[in-house]
């Protein structure tokens, strides 16, 4: 069978404000919550509410044959609770259908898997708990921030009992001649690996409305035909997984309504299910559906789904980013040693990967994407405000430690 695994990432960072040197010591509000509220409202109206409603009706219409999965970060859930509780409620309705899987990740969508193991375990634990309270599911699938994956991540995840599956990017540099359609196992054979089929996923997420793309305009029929053709590769009846992972904001926000993106999503299940060899699945379904011994995949260098490099360069490639990350993680350790519960919470809010993403100085296409998402005028501004925030936090912890 060809299993279509639709997984949507739902995340909005809590963006930092323009925090100046002169604010240090006199202003402990680091976030631009006015901006955060505005963006959340916009995305809620254009994407979340609308797409949730559509998914709910599709799940209802196809009676158990249509499935989707989500990962919602702690950052967005906190903001939804504060500004748009009805959106959270609509995610709960999706959870209640039983067709929707919620996955685990780091609570703050952080890079802790790379820089701070202890923090990684803490944040994954916090996030799993959140999934249980919000959606009544104890996650069995783990997806790391921005699909960052390597053997070290697998090793960390293996130390947490609950996880059976990890999602990662199906980058050529880790697959070589192999196909992302098969399920693999981690280097230590502890979890199944499902790899994003990025060509097809990006056809929807990035190229859907690109008029200069050869595939434009993308119809559901053509898309399903492409998927059907993939099935011809497998002659031994092994289960294939077409992993279409993307940002949820693809629907209505990155691809506006007038591109026809909602109509595309609406007609996808009906068209795909006409073919008896295609079904929709959640990542957790792979545990039972896999009918072969998965090959082990060892990934030494981290891969991610970001930018054309599909590596860590979006967050960790220039001196601003490395100084920011190093200074932050040193400070976080210091604050944890102090045991100040309140300041640990504040400091963790600064672990969100987007903060470092805004400092990226890569040019050309990816630079444009970074600019599209950034609330600042330049990567340098993003850096300056962040370092000022750290200087303030450092002062606060020194003061508390003295007392």
């Amino acid at each position: 069978m060809l299993n279509i695994v639709l997984y949507f990432q739902v995340h909005q960072p809590r963006r930092l404000g323009k925090y100046k040197v002169l604010h240090i010591g006199s202003n402990d509000n680091y976030f631009d919550d006015e901006l955060n509220r505005k963006i959340l409202n916009k995305v809620s109206d254009k994407c979340y509410l609308r797409t949730n409603r559509l998914l709910l009706s599709l799940i209802d219409r196809f009676k158990g044959e249509f499935k989707v999965s989500f990962s919602l970060t702690g950052s967005i859930i906190e903001q939804l609770r504060r500004y748009r509780p009805e959106v959270l409620e609509s995610f709960r309705q999706l959870a209640a259908t039983g067709q929707v899987e919620f996955m685990a990740e780091t609570y703050y969508h952080s890079l802790s898997s790379l820089f701070d193991e202890e923090e990684f375990f803490d944040q994954v634990g916090m996030h799993s708990e959140l999934m249980e309270t919000e959606f009544g599911q104890k996650p069995v699938t783990f997806r790391n921030t921005e699909l960052i994956y390597c053997d070290k991540v697998a090793e960390l995840v293996s130390q947490i009992d609950q996880f059976k599956i990890i999602l990662a990017e199906g980058a050529e540099k880790i697959l070589g001649w192999r196909s992302p359609l098969y399920a693999y196992s981690t280097y230590n054979a502890n979890q199944l690996l499902l790899l994003k089929y990025y060509q097809l996923a990006d056809d929807i997420a990035f190229r859907f409305s690109n008029k200069s793309w050869l595939g434009f305009p993308l119809t559901v029929e053509r898309f399903v035909e492409w998927i059907e053709r993939l099935g011809l590769l497998e002659r031994d009846g092994r289960e294939l997984y077409v992993n279409l992972f993307m940002d949820y904001e693809t629907f209505g926000e990155h691809q506006w309504e007038d591109t026809g993106i909602f109509a595309f999503l609406e007609h996808l299940p009906g068209c795909a299910l006409k073919n008896g060899h295609i079904r929709f699945a959640n990542p957790r379904d792979a545990i039972d559906s896999i009918n072969y011994q998965p090959a082990r995949l060892s990934v030494k260098e981290p891969v991610s789904w970001a930018d054309t490099e599909r590596d860590l360069s979006a967050w960790f490639s220039n001196s601003l980013q490395s100084n920011a990350l190093r200074t932050y993680h040193d400070l976080l350790k210091k604050i944890k040693r102090s045991g100040s519960k309140h300041l640990i919470d504040v400091a963790r809010g600064l672990s969100t990967s987007d903060i470092y993403y805004y400092m990226c100085t890569k040019y050309f296409n990816d630079g444009d994407v970074h600019k599209y998402f950034s609330p600042y005028d330049s990567p340098e501004q993003a850096y300056v405000y962040f370092i000022n925030v750290l200087a303030d936090l450092e002062k606060r912890i020194e003061k508390e430690t003295l007392v």
Binding site: S319, V384, I387
Partner: protein
């Protein structure tokens, strides 16, 4: 004596030393009974008719076309509406348009052909200078004067034209040249305006020996025509008791982040100090073409939260940052004067200044070091932060010295220059 004073900056609208210097000298000239009509880049045909020392603060304005109707702006906002922001000198962002008129006069001087070509250029700043020139000539023709006093190249075209039209002596006051600003060859069109201005002028006032030498060497202006009048310093507002930001010793760089000002030396000094003593904070205030480069360098050095960038600061923010500063470093490669050390010293900070700065010529109680000697600057900072007693002593002496550094003496020198010119005119 009635002076027509032409400036691009004046408080509260200042970005650099120019506005503060013009403010200080105009106030002292007023004290000595000189009348000053001040023309600033404005969004209407206004000038400021200053007759008493306090006028430099309340800026009584006269609407030129309506024939001398006086009005004192009441709010800062109103003032801001009238005066075009001097920000546009280096950051061409804020619009000033609609002066019209007087442009036909621009052709009337022979020297002006080339300048006119420049000012008609697409480049926004030149268009602004053209507008300013037109407006100023109109005002000058209407109100007349005894002497025209033009500060820096932006006002030189207006000065030259008014001299031809009114047949009055022109004094050009050189606060900085394109050689200082560019830190290299600079813009040839601006050089031409500076050169023509100094050549047409009856007298050239330079803010330091440093600048006078540069004018002789680069513009070949004869020595006899140049007078050196060092800038002084007057605290415009009584410093409010602003809070300290950091407990640690705080070292400040304040100025444009550009080659001339030596910001790259500042970070090298920061690194050397922090290697020996982590207990210090370095703040860089200002903006400019090297900001990016300097930030990346500081980050690559891993200076973390010990090196902060405050960005461009307005006047109030400058006060706040000075209040938290212990040591001001001015590592300029080329600095005609440099007022920041005086501002900092008057608030109790210790200044370390480049030997290639005008300010080094007039102050005693500051450390004067070659701009390239980063080791010496670093060891001086270390010595100061590790010896509080020595720091306190230097701080006290510096503060006293600056307090006595009034504009009155400088104004006397300026008056002497004006007086000579008037005598010549009478003969």
């Amino acid at each position: 004596m009635r002076i027509l004073s032409l400036s691009w900056e004046f408080p509260p609208f200042i970005t650099g030393g120019l506005g503060m210097a013009v403010y200080g000298m105009v106030r002292s000239l007023l004290k000595k009974g000189v009348a000053v009509d001040l023309v600033l880049p404005a969004k209407g045909k206004y000038f400021f008719s200053l007759r008493h020392p306090e006028d430099v603060d309340n800026l009584p304005r006269v609407v030129s076309q309506i024939g001398g109707e006086k009005a004192t702006p009441h709010s800062m906002k109103e003032l801001k509406d009238i005066i075009g922001s001097p920000l546009s000198v280096y950051q061409t962002t804020i619009g000033m348009r609609g002066f019209g008129g007087a442009v036909e006069d621009l052709g009337s001087s022979e020297e002006f052909g080339k300048i006119l070509d420049t000012l008609n250029d697409e480049y926004y700043l030149f268009r602004q200078v053209l507008d300013y020139t037109g407006m100023t000539v109109d005002i000058g023709k209407e109100i007349g004067c005894d002497i025209i006093h033009a500060h820096d190249w932006l006002t030189f075209p207006a000065g030259i034209l008014l001299k031809t039209i009114l047949h009055k002596p022109l004094v050009v006051h050189v606060h900085a040249t394109e050689f200082d600003r560019a830190g290299g060859a600079g813009d040839g069109r601006i050089h031409n305006i500076e050169y023509t201005g100094m050549k047409c002028a009856d007298k050239v006032i330079a803010v330091s020996e440093f600048t006078a030498n540069l004018i002789m060497e680069k513009y070949h202006i004869e020595k006899e025509k140049i007078s050196v009048v060092h800038n002084a310093y007057v605290m415009k507002d009584c410093p409010v008791n602003h809070r300290r930001i950091f407990d640690e010793p705080t070292i400040l760089f304040m100025g444009r982040i550009t080659l001339q000002k030596g910001p790259d030396y500042f970070i090298e000094v920061a690194r050397r100090v922090l290697e020996k003593n982590k207990n210090a904070r370095f703040i860089m205030a200002g903006s400019g073409d090297m900001e990016r480069q300097v930030l990346h360098r500081a980050a690559a050095m891993g200076l973390g939260t010990r090196f902060l960038s405050a960005g461009f600061l307005d006047r109030d923010e400058v006060e706040q940052i000075l209040a938290t500063t212990d040591i001001l470093l001015l590592p300029s490669v080329s600095e005609p004067f440099g007022i920041a050390p005086l501002e900092a010293m008057s608030r109790g900070a210790v200044a370390i200044v480049s030997k290639s700065s005008g300010v080094a010529e007039i102050i005693q109680n500051a450390f004067k070091i070659d701009f390239w000697d980063i080791d010496q600057m670093a060891s001086t900072i270390l010595k100061l932060i590790e010896n509080p007693r020595e720091f306190a002593e230097m701080s006290k002496r510096g503060r006293e010295e600056v307090a006595n550094l009034g504009w009155d003496e400088a104004a006397d020198k300026i008056l002497e220059v004006f007086g000579q010119l008037q005598e010549t005119a009478v003969c």
